[in-house]
């Protein structure tokens, strides 16, 4: 693994952020808008005094965590799509760059994105709604790491799909995360889902993160079992998705399709 090459690819994407309004909006504006909407809703529901539930913490915590997962997935998918749109695969893959280095550069881009978005959203939710995402101290960090890993896995999955099935599959880069959301128990506990869907929810590492977040809010105790289940599932999925990605990458090279993936 060559970190100079990884950072070169990261910089190639970070250069774009300096002058791209849509990219900056994606990073800051839309997440802030979401905080505003969900914050107003939280305040309204809190005024209704629903059985002593800490609505602001539950909803704002959920939306911030959800945005972190979404940012991690977008970092991978959009870094890949950027190379598709710019037809840059030939240029980068005739360098000594390894596929693993390409993937790790997207992981670190995801890390940068979630740190930035986390700080901004944490700041806004504290200033506007007095909600402190770090009120539970370092307990939140292991869960954020799990969201980063799951987002990365989802991102690699979408890129493998695009490699394998061509650019017409790029809709996955935008929509996959929304397919995951209903089963991730973001705003409600897994028990609120119908029995059959609960089994589906248990398959997603994100479900345990949101269940864990609620457990911390209710009890103030770090639910180690949720963390370990989430991490375990993440590691299994990452191994499977890496294998799938390498197979997809091999397939495009066998079929001479690397240069034919277009945006």
């Amino acid at each position: 693994m060559n970190f100079n090459r990884i950072s070169a690819l990261m910089m190639r994407h970070l250069y774009l952020y300096q002058r791209s309004l849509p990219r900056l909006m994606d990073l800051f504006f839309w997440p802030i808008l979401e905080i505003l909407v969900w914050g107003f809703l939280s305040v309204y529901l809190e005024k209704m005094n629903l059985g002593g539930l800490n609505i602001v913490s539950l909803l704002l915590g959920a939306i911030i965590f959800w945005d972190l997962l979404s940012q991690s997935q977008k970092a991978v998918s959009f870094a890949f799509m950027e190379e598709v749109w710019e037809k840059n695969f030939l240029n980068i893959f005739v360098t000594p760059l390894k596929v693993s280095e390409f993937l790790f550069s997207t992981f670190f881009l995801g890390l940068i994105r979630i740190v930035l978005v986390g700080i901004i959203l944490g700041l806004f939710s504290f200033l506007l709604y007095h909600f402190n995402i770090f009120q539970f101290g370092l307990y939140t960090v292991p869960f954020i790491i799990n969201l980063l890993l799951f987002g990365w896995t989802l991102g690699i999955f979408t890129t493998a799909i695009i490699f394998r099935f061509g650019s017409s599959a790029q809709i996955f880069a935008y929509s996959l995360i929304f397919l995951i959301q209903p089963f991730s128990a973001v705003f409600y506990p897994i028990s609120a889902l119908p029995q059959a869907l609960q089994f589906v929810a248990y398959l997603f590492p994100s479900s345990y993160v949101f269940e864990g977040m609620r457990a911390i809010i209710h009890n103030g105790v770090f639910p180690l079992n949720y963390f370990l289940l989430s991490l375990g599932l993440n590691l299994v999925y990452m191994a499977v998705i890496f294998f799938f990605f390498y197979k997809a990458f091999y397939w495009v090279r066998v079929h001479g399709r690397l240069m034919k993936i277009e945006g």
């Binding site: 060559n2 070169a8 910089m11 190639r12 250069y15 037809k87 030939l90 000594p96 090279r253 001479g256």
Partner: protein, 246 residues
């Protein structure tokens, strides 16, 4: 010693054989033209040499090593340029060059970029967006990128296509200068046979993925009894060269 050794190379896409049992070697410090009509298998061959396409069978050795065992080492000493493969247009020129210099592990990046952009007369464009460059400027930028790592082997895919005669001539002079001053081995594809006569030491003709002939341009013209390489190309492309004795 040959820098590139291609032996019995075959590439099939389903029922279509794009490259059919191709065998050739490329000598160090020479400019070799890889020629043939559209669909002859030139691009597929080059992409296999660059490890972008996996061959169906056969072997490729570059610098005496197999790509699958020494990919990183081989690719660090190779580069590629094509007017059909642009660098990202939404980056500034210096951003593109810095990115690729780092991907190739160039040591003194600023000095190297300064040296090459001066050589290609595009230093003033460094702060500009790549999208703002003209076709000729983009070609020179691509060539600058292609020389960042001081490659021992350079693949050039129609480097003068879509250039006006003046810029095309300057590009050829630059390539000759690069080859002479830096002893770079160049594999060159083009449809401009006059260009091949002017700068190539050797021409390899392929058609339907098969090797049709191989030799110095002047020798091939003599062998086929033609006035120029363009006529040789036409004979080979139209299948009229089958009866010519080797």
């Amino acid at each position: 010693m040959p820098i590139v050794e291609v032996k019995n190379l075959v590439k099939k896409f389903g029922d279509t054989t794009a490259v059919d049992n191709l065998t050739f070697e490329i000598e160090e410090g020479k400019i070799t033209g890889l020629l043939g009509p559209n669909g002859a298998g030139k691009t597929t061959t080059i992409q296999m040499l660059l490890d972008l396409i996996i061959p169906t069978s056969g072997s490729i050795r570059i610098f005496g090593k197999e790509m699958k065992n020494s990919r990183e080492e081989i690719l660090s000493k190779i580069n590629f340029s094509s007017p059909y493969v642009s660098l990202p247009t939404n980056l500034k020129v210096w951003e593109n060059l810095t990115t690729f210099a780092r991907l190739y592990g160039v040591k003194n990046i600023e000095k190297k970029i300064d040296e090459l952009t001066t050589f290609f007369d595009i230093k003033d464009f460094l702060p500009k967006m790549t999208s703002a460059l003209s076709t000729g400027q983009l070609t020179r930028l691509n060539l600058t990128k292609a020389l960042l790592n001081d490659p021992a082997l350079l693949f050039l895919d129609e480097p003068t296509a879509s250039l006006d005669p003046d810029i095309a001539d300057r590009t050829r002079q630059l390539l000759k200068r690069i080859q002479k001053e830096r002893n770079v081995t160049i594999l060159y594809t083009t449809h401009n046979m006059a260009e091949v006569e002017e700068i190539c030491d050797r021409a390899i003709f392929i058609h339907h993925g098969k090797m049709k002939d191989d030799g110095a341009p002047a020798d091939l013209i003599k062998k086929y009894g033609r006035e120029d390489l363009n006529d040789v190309f036409l004979m080979i492309a139209r299948g009229e060269a089958e009866n010519v004795k080797s």
